[in-house]
């Protein structure tokens, strides 16, 4: 068991943090909540024989929609040895509560339900970085969904980001759920 302190400035720690935040986004994000890493406070790594590399992280997160509110988080990320097809194990604990987005979520829900035709859009943001305000919640939902994709596909040698929503199509449903099919572009930083 070999634990060593990592420099939070440097990449192995930052990549592990990105994976933890990706899963967090998937689990806790929504059309009105976009969590991202404000600062990586501390990082330690542990080499677990025959298992893999484990990272212990102390994170400070912020909501892009409300930069004044931050929340602390501790996370553990375990990259499995050998088999690159298994997603890393990620555990996290948030300190304190996240601000409720019930009202904004409800506004979004009612707005989509009231559309006459199913929502269809593409290139979010567009080439110039513009997102029409009414599509911002869809953009954030894509960010939530891409959190899952990032987590599932991450290794110690990757750093994924959502680059663009190429296409989104609302799927008609008979029940009260909203369903969107996304085609997203992911940017992998290390292999570019």
């Amino acid at each position: 068991e070999l634990r060593s302190e990592l420099c939070p400035r440097q990449f192995p720690a930052r990549r592990a943090a990105a994976v933890a935040v990706a899963l967090l986004r998937y689990r806790r994000g929504g059309p009105a909540r976009a969590l991202r890493l404000r600062e990586l406070r501390r990082a330690r790594t542990e080499d677990i024989k025959d298992v893999g590399h484990k990272y212990y992280l102390e994170l400070e997160l912020e909501d892009v929609l409300d930069k004044d509110s931050t929340v602390n988080c501790t996370a553990e990320v375990l990259y499995h040895l050998g088999n690159q097809n298994i997603a890393p194990d990620v555990q996290f604990t948030l300190e304190g509560e996240l601000k409720s987005t019930e009202e904004a979520d409800h506004v979004f829900y009612t707005r989509i339900r009231s559309l006459e035709k199913e929502l269809v859009a593409e290139n979010i943001p567009d080439s110039h970085g513009h997102v029409p305000p009414e599509l911002e919640p869809i953009h954030l939902l894509a960010w939530v969904a891409s959190g899952y994709l990032v987590w599932q596909n991450s290794t110690e040698n990757t750093e994924f980001q959502l680059a663009q929503v190429k296409h989104v199509k609302q799927v008609r449903r008979r029940d009260k759920y909203l369903q969107f099919d996304f085609v997203v572009l992911l940017h992998e930083m290390v292999s570019q």
């Binding site: 420099c7 400035r9 440097q10 990449f11 930052r14 976009a34 991202r36 890493l37 600062e39 892009v64 943001p125 567009d126 080439s127 110039h128 970085g129 513009h130 997102v131 980001q161 959502l162 680059a163 663009q164 572009l185 940017h187 930083m189 290390v190 292999s191 570019q192």
Partner: protein, 417 residues
């Protein structure tokens, strides 16, 4: 009152309202309250040339109607006096028509719709390079350092007050096609230089004592491709032998540990290192220029996006450069300068450890050539928009980055070698 009108009529020279210049011409807005006041406007129109903007003609003027009209410069004082004397309610809508026209052109910018706060396509940037040099001949000159694969001229701007034996800083933008904020920064920097020369002490000293070579877009073919075909394109657009895939990663194409780490030998890869170092016309042109001016170039800055990083050598190896301590403290201070404006957090450090090992980079190559102060900027943001940084962020991104570049330039000036 009638007599006054006659006097004015006699005194006024028929102003040719068709003249090309509108210097000093005024536009009045009048609201005649009754038939008498309507009559006054009628008389005015009969003794001097008045161009009615609304209504189209004086014959359509009625009481209580808003009437706008243009008068020549030499008549405007008399018209104003007359309106005052007759108690006709009026306001001066446009005080100097020529000034108003000039202002409109400025805000739309002269060269084919160029804007410092928007992303400009290549034709617009090319025209701007000619324009900015022509408008500022004492400070800016333009040259061509080579041609791209598709045959386009690579424009280089030289900034600085002409004087013998000056050392220089070389800065390039647009290595990677999709990093649009990068060329936007180079354009902004040039604008800052010409606009604040003589006003900002630091900039004035920098331009007096140093030259800046600014290459606004290195990878022009790629940049155009992101406008016409694929917004996410990264590489050049050269054809690869025996492959249907195009392009080489220009920042893997320099002779610095070439193709040993973080680069691919596959032409289809986004980090394809090319068939050989400087296989690309663009990288060769850049390298040739730096080699030819090696004795004068004391710093090399290359601007990329995204991630908010300030990197220095090495990227092709984890080994630290001999100037590590100095480069690290410059990077630290420059990052602090940058953050001072909008609290934008940058991470700094040697390339390999901070971001990833990557061989064939221009910054490493320049450093190994002897250009001690060699830095790579990765501008905003950290992934929310990534390459698709909104235009509304161009100004703040550029403003904060200028602070860091000026810091580094000033440091270089104080530590010339």
């Amino acid at each position: 009152m009638w007599a006054l009108l006659v006097l004015i009529g006699a005194a006024s020279v028929s102003a040719h309202l068709q003249d090309l210049s509108f210097d000093g011409q005024k536009v009045f807005r009048v609201i005649p309250q009754n038939d008498d006041q309507v009559e006054i406007l009628n008389s005015l129109a009969s003794i001097m040339q008045i161009d009615f903007w609304q209504p189209d003609s004086v014959t359509l003027v009625r009481p209580k109607m808003q009437v706008d009209f243009r008068v020549g410069a030499e008549n405007s004082l008399q018209v104003e006096d007359l309106l005052k004397e007759s108690g006709v309610e009026y306001q001066v809508l446009i005080d100097d028509l020529q000034a108003a026209l000039d202002a409109q052109f400025d805000s739309q910018a002269r060269a084919a719709g160029h804007s410092y706060e928007k992303y400009n396509n290549w034709d617009t940037i090319a025209a701007w390079t000619a324009d900015i040099a022509a408008q500022n001949p004492d400070l800016v000159s333009r040259s061509v350092i080579g041609e791209t694969y598709e045959g386009r001229p690579m424009y280089l701007l030289k900034l600085g007050k002409s004087s013998p034996n000056k050392k220089a800083i070389f800065m390039d933008c647009g290595f990677h096609a999709r990093e649009w904020i990068s060329p936007a920064f180079c354009q902004w920097f040039v604008k800052e230089a010409v606009e604040t020369y003589g006003k900002d002490t630091v900039m004035t000293t920098l331009l007096d004592k140093l030259d800046f070579y600014v290459l606004p877009v290195v990878n022009i073919d790629g940049y155009i491709y992101t406008w016409t075909n694929d917004r996410m394109w990264r590489k050049t657009r050269s054809k690869n032998a025996n492959s249907s895939c195009y392009g080489t990663d220009p920042n893997r194409n320099f002779n610095a540990g070439w193709c040993t780490a973080g680069a691919s030998k596959s032409p289809c890869s986004a980090t394809y290192c090319g068939s050989a170092p400087e296989s690309e016309k663009e990288t060769k042109a850049l390298a040739d220029f730096i080699r030819e001016h090696l004795s004068t170039i004391k710093a090399y800055l290359t601007i990329h996006s995204y991630s908010q990083l300030l990197l220095f050598p090495y990227s092709y190896t984890y080994a630290l450069p001999s100037d590590y301590q100095e480069l690290n403290s410059i990077a630290s201070a420059a990052s602090k300068e940058l953050a001072s404006l909008y609290k934008t957090k940058y991470t700094y450090g040697p390339g390999a450890k901070t971001i990833y090992p990557a061989a064939g980079g221009s910054d490493d190559w320049a450093y190994d050539q002897g250009v001690k102060y060699s830095f790579t900027f990765e501008l905003r943001d950290t992934g929310r928009y990534g390459f698709l940084l909104p235009e509304s962020q161009i100004k703040p991104t550029c403003e904060e980055t200028v602070l860091a570049v000026k810091y580094i330039a000033n440091y270089v000036l104080e530590h010339l070698y």
